[in-house]
């Protein structure tokens, strides 16, 4: 058995009422909407893009609500900065999971992206969530934020987490839906981890990634795809500076991983719908990437039956790009 969620957009008064009723919530909404909520057992982050039952939507006055299930033993909000981020694992319950939301383009996100796999508890204590953002026409003007409803704090440089403890017979299971797969192009490897790259090796020969992208007229809407024992992990291209020979990324690349640019995807909505069509239950939480929303022109289009925020990065144990993330809760008896 697994639980499925009827998570969806709600009006601000509806969310205020849920908080007042003592519910534990993981929220996504505009800064204006989240700022109108009372203190309570919730955390959230700024975003105005959503995948709903009606398709992709933009909303500044409604909030996407994920409820902690009633059978949970407890849910505890917390906040972490770059220096104490490793505590997210030691604070997590022995059995359960942690919702997390981290603001885009911050040191705390960089620390999580580069170091989470080295923290004690990585994989053992599931961490799932997303990266908060701003409307795309406000990038560079407004700052993404996260909210800790318990303390009433709004932060632009720390992350907010909600540690959810489950009974022994329930199991949290994270998975991803990636519509991209490695193309048949050149094998790309990196010597150093980071969000910004210059040098790399291409089919074993020293090269510069920006030069390679320029020379091959590579379409950068399609991500680099890393091979993690058969699971494809995307790294999306933020920008290419041909003069400085620098490529900036939305997530770090890592040494020891084989990367190739993805095969092109023509119809993002159809690809997601096909990838999730066989599912017999909805996840307890899901999110998808704003780059898929923008490149795939998903406004008004359905991506299958799964709903959730459209985000500036997805977390399923580690930072992901251009990926749908899902949390499923199983009753293992």
């Amino acid at each position: 058995m697994s639980v499925t969620a009827s998570a969806t957009l709600h009006s601000i008064p509806e969310v205020q009422a849920a908080i007042a009723a003592g519910e534990s919530l993981f929220l996504a909404g505009s800064r204006e909407a989240l700022s109108q909520l009372p203190r309570g057992n919730w955390v959230g982050g700024t975003i105005c893009y959503f995948m709903t039952e009606e398709g992709g939507q933009v909303s500044n006055d409604r909030i996407f609500v994920t409820r902690v299930p009633a059978f949970a033993l407890g849910a505890k909000p917390a906040s972490y900065g770059p220096r104490d981020l490793a505590k997210i694992y030691s604070d997590a319950p022995e059995n359960g999971f942690t919702f997390v939301v981290l603001p885009a383009a911050t040191d705390v996100l960089k620390t999580f992206a580069e170091q989470a796999p080295t923290f004690d508890g990585f994989l053992l204590r599931p961490v799932v969530g997303w990266v908060s953002g701003v409307p795309v026409d406000r990038i560079g003007k407004d700052l993404p934020a996260v909210f800790n409803g318990e303390t009433g704090t709004v932060s632009e440089d720390s992350c907010a987490a909600l540690h959810v403890a489950l009974p022994a017979n329930w199991m949290a299971d994270l998975d991803i839906v990636n519509i991209f797969e490695s193309g048949n192009g050149d094998l790309i490897r990196f010597e150093k981890a980071g969000f910004q790259v210059t040098d790399c090796s291409i089919d074993g020969k020293p090269a510069n990634l920006a030069d390679y992208i320029g020379a091959n007229k590579t379409k950068t809407e399609f991500p680099l795809v890393g091979d993690y024992n058969g699971t494809s992990i995307n790294v999306s291209i933020l920008s290419v500076d041909p003069l400085a020979h620098v490529v900036d990324l939305y997530a770090p690349v890592f040494p020891g991983v084989d990367y190739r640019f993805a095969k092109p995807v023509a119809d993002y909505a159809a690809a997601f719908a096909a990838a999730t069509a066989a599912e017999d239950s909805d996840p307890a939480f899901a999110c998808n990437c704003v780059l898929n929303y923008l490149y795939g022109k998903l406004e008004g289009k359905k991506t299958g039956h799964i709903t959730g925020p459209i985000t500036f990065g997805e977390i399923a144990h580690q930072l992901l790009n251009q990926t749908m993330v899902r949390l499923t809760l199983h009753d293992v008896g």
Partner: protein
């Protein structure tokens, strides 16, 4: 919330071999290939591979075995097929 069936079976409890079982070392050092459709398991295998390439000492192999044993004991109901492959 509603409920629906999944492929996870209730009460599906395995006996996970002790850390002294030789298959653990083969698993964490990449000598036995086990792929899974789920990202979490593949991230574990990848993490072990990267870690072992950085430090192949017996002390580190013991540490990787301990972590993998803890992981597969906890999530045995999800990764029963992978456990079976490791110890076949």
């Amino acid at each position: 919330m509603s409920r629906g069936d999944t492929s996870i079976e209730r009460g599906n409890s395995l006996t996970i071999p002790d850390v002294s079982h030789p298959a653990w070392a083969r698993f964490v050092t990449g000598k036995v290939a086990v792929q899974c459709s789920k990202a979490t398991f593949n991230l574990l295998v990848h993490s072990n591979k990267m870690n072992y390439e950085r430090d192949s000492s017996s002390a580190n192999v013991k540490l990787l075995i301990a972590k993998s044993h803890e992981f597969l004991t906890k999530f045995q109901s999800i990764f029963a097929n992978e456990v079976a492959t490791i110890f076949k």
